[in-house]
């Protein structure tokens, strides 16, 4: 674990220096990252230019969901987003060069192509979250204030687990890397909208099967004093960290199984 974090830090630093070799391109891609990921919010603004509530939620509250989803996903994307390229490394055989290093492969793959341009998404999400916090009507208590950073970090943890599980899947199906986009990018897009918009089955699926709703829907319902989706009790808002830890543990197991299958079948 300590070895892993150390390797992650070392490799990440190398990638930052590498991207700084092309400063102009770095600036442009960071701005583009900010703008592209902000499009979703522009769409929401456009919708609200024609309506007052969506699924019963007004703009500030939707912005609150959006900000939480974006920042949590952005943190996960910044930390280990490049894992979605694992299939490529398996295909071209460069994964082998990581396997002869004295560091956990997971850490090396996670740090692969570490890109600060992904701060664009986080910045954009944080701005929207800031706007939401300024306009939304929350009866703040110390507990609620404390819950905020916990939600964001738990959400990032849940998305990290999805990235790791997706990468593990790519050991088996290298060409099918796009499947995980449905859960990562698709997941964060879905969470930008109120749960009341979606079919009950879908909400159930992303609560009990792939617990994405713990990223923002359930905690936000508590903070905003709205009915909790699926009639769940209010305390589920505090379960997010546990869910995140469980997800990470499960995806860690999936990663192990994936790596083992690679090492027993080869490329």
């Amino acid at each position: 674990m300590v070895d892993g974090l150390r390797a992650y830090r070392l490799i990440g630093a190398m990638w930052i220096r590498s991207t700084m070799a092309y400063r102009a391109s770095f600036a442009m891609t960071t701005i583009a990252n900010f703008a592209v990921t902000g499009l979703d919010f522009v769409a929401i603004l456009l919708m609200f230019s024609r309506i007052d509530v969506l699924g019963g939620w007004p703009l500030p509250e939707v912005a609150f969901l959006y900000g939480l989803s974006c920042v949590a996903f952005g943190l996960a994307d910044l930390a280990i987003g490049s894992m979605e390229r694992l299939g490529q490394r398996v295909r071209d055989g460069t994964l082998d060069t990581l396997l002869v290093r004295p560091a956990p492969v997971l850490a090396q793959v996670a740090a692969d192509r570490f890109a600060l341009r992904r701060l664009g998404r986080i910045t954009q999400g944080a701005l929207v979250l800031g706007y939401a916090l300024g306009t939304v009507d929350i009866a703040w208590t110390p507990l609620k204030v404390l819950l905020m950073p916990v939600i964001v970090l738990s959400g990032a943890g849940i998305f990290c687990a999805v990235f790791v599980a997706g990468a593990a899947f790519q050991f088996v199906a290298q060409d099918a890397s796009e499947v995980q986009n449905a859960f990562t990018y698709g997941g964060t897009t879905m969470l930008q909208y109120p749960p009341t918009v979606f079919g009950k089955e879908l909400v159930r699926g992303v609560t009990f099967l792939l617990p994405l709703s713990f990223v923002n829907w359930l905690p936000a319902a508590y903070l905003l004093g709205r009915p909790v989706p699926l009639g769940l009790p209010r305390w589920v808002a505090f379960v997010s960290p546990l869910v995140a830890v469980a997800c990470c543990a499960l995806s860690g197991l999936a990663w192990r199984a994936g790596l083992r299958s690679y090492r027993s079948t080869g490329s």
Partner: protein
């Protein structure tokens, strides 16, 4: 490193030890639009050998023979399907990271250097990732820089290096942490003559001074000739030959070719055991057994014929191996341990 003390079951003579090692791949082949057939491929089919500490061994064979699968098992990248495998007393696939501190790997076609950064940055990363003590790192780096002539390249981004420069850079990167074994996969492929000579000279010196065990795969018989006292031939996942290079020539009845340019056209040169295989104006091609000395042959021809220029062509590995099979019939195991 306390590792060196713990591995009591590893002696100097069986530093690398393979005992009936197998690697079986499941291959799915498309046989129709949706139908797939599963088939087992034995990439490595029961290989046994030991390598003593400080040996330099060539590992050769046609493409797809199982060479790189063996190397991948030795480095812990792949897990064997059967048999026993130890490197420095360590089971590579179980203790991959512990082994990593003790081995160096150079993939000929795949650089591990950082493309957009100056060469020295890749070395600094190795320094920290392998936790090499500062003094040791400095010493090793200075030595590699001197012997591999990297001094002027350290501040150049890797993407601007030539293939030969990059290979030298990669070899240095694999050696900074004092590995006891160095695996090289096609270290001279694509290099020009001068770069090849530099790489070979360096490996010889490394082996002589540090006693580093070297295992290399190659398509270039000269690599073997100039570096390895021992050569192993693998094909279809089996060890076909293990012994000295001279022995391989004997078994394979391989021949070198002497290309002679004369002042004028003459009758075919008569210099047994060499025989003329082709004549084209004043140029003649003579084949002679690879075991024979070229110098003696050249001296004889120079004495009797108006010699202008000459060159010697080495037999290529594929040809040697092909002949070897033709000579030994089924070839399975007969040639094993022929010399050595």
């Amino acid at each position: 490193m306390d590792n060196d003390l713990v591995d009591s079951d590893c002696t100097d003579t069986d530093f690398i030890e393979l005992d009936h090692v197998e690697k079986v791949f499941d291959v799915r082949k498309k046989t129709g639009f949706l139908r797939r057939e599963r088939r087992q491929v034995r990439a490595v089919d029961g290989i046994s050998f030991t390598v003593a500490r400080g040996e330099m061994v060539g590992y050769i064979g046609p493409n797809g023979a199982g060479k790189s699968t063996t190397i991948k098992m030795l480095t812990g990248i792949l897990t064997p399907s059967g048999g026993r495998l130890r490197v420095a007393g360590i089971d590579p696939s179980r203790e991959r990271t512990r082994l990593a501190h003790r081995i160096g790997v150079v993939f000929g076609q795949r650089t591990t250097l950082w493309w957009d950064l100056p060469l020295i940055d890749s070395y600094k990363l190795m320094h920290r990732m392998y936790r090499i003590p500062d003094a040791r790192y400095r010493e090793n780096l200075d030595r590699c820089v001197e012997l591999l002539e990297l001094g002027e390249l350290l501040d150049v981004p890797v993407r601007q290096l030539s293939l030969g420069q990059r290979m030298r850079g990669d070899i240095a990167a694999a050696l900074l942490h004092d590995p006891e074994v160095l695996y090289l996969d096609e270290p001279t492929i694509g290099l020009d003559v001068i770069s090849k000579a530099k790489v070979r000279g360096f490996l010889r010196e490394l082996n002589a001074e540090r006693g580093t065990t070297v295992l290399l795969t190659t398509h270039d018989l000269q690599d073997i000739e100039q570096l390895c006292s021992r050569v192993m031939v693998i094909d279809h996942g089996r060890l076909m030959y293990d012994g000295a290079l001279a022995g391989l020539h004997e078994v394979g009845e391989s021949e070198r070719t002497l290309v002679v340019d004369l002042e004028r056209e003459t009758a075919p040169i008569d210099a047994a055991p060499a025989r003329v295989v082709k004549v084209e104006g004043p140029r003649q091609w003579l084949a002679f057994p690879a075991g024979e000395s070229a110098a003696a042959l050249v001296a004889r021809i120079a004495a009797e014929y108006p010699l202008v220029d000459l060159s010697v062509r080495e037999p290529d590995i594929e040809a040697v191996i092909a002949k070897m099979y033709a000579g030994t019939g089924t070839g399975s195991g007969q040639a094993e341990k022929a010399a050595s």
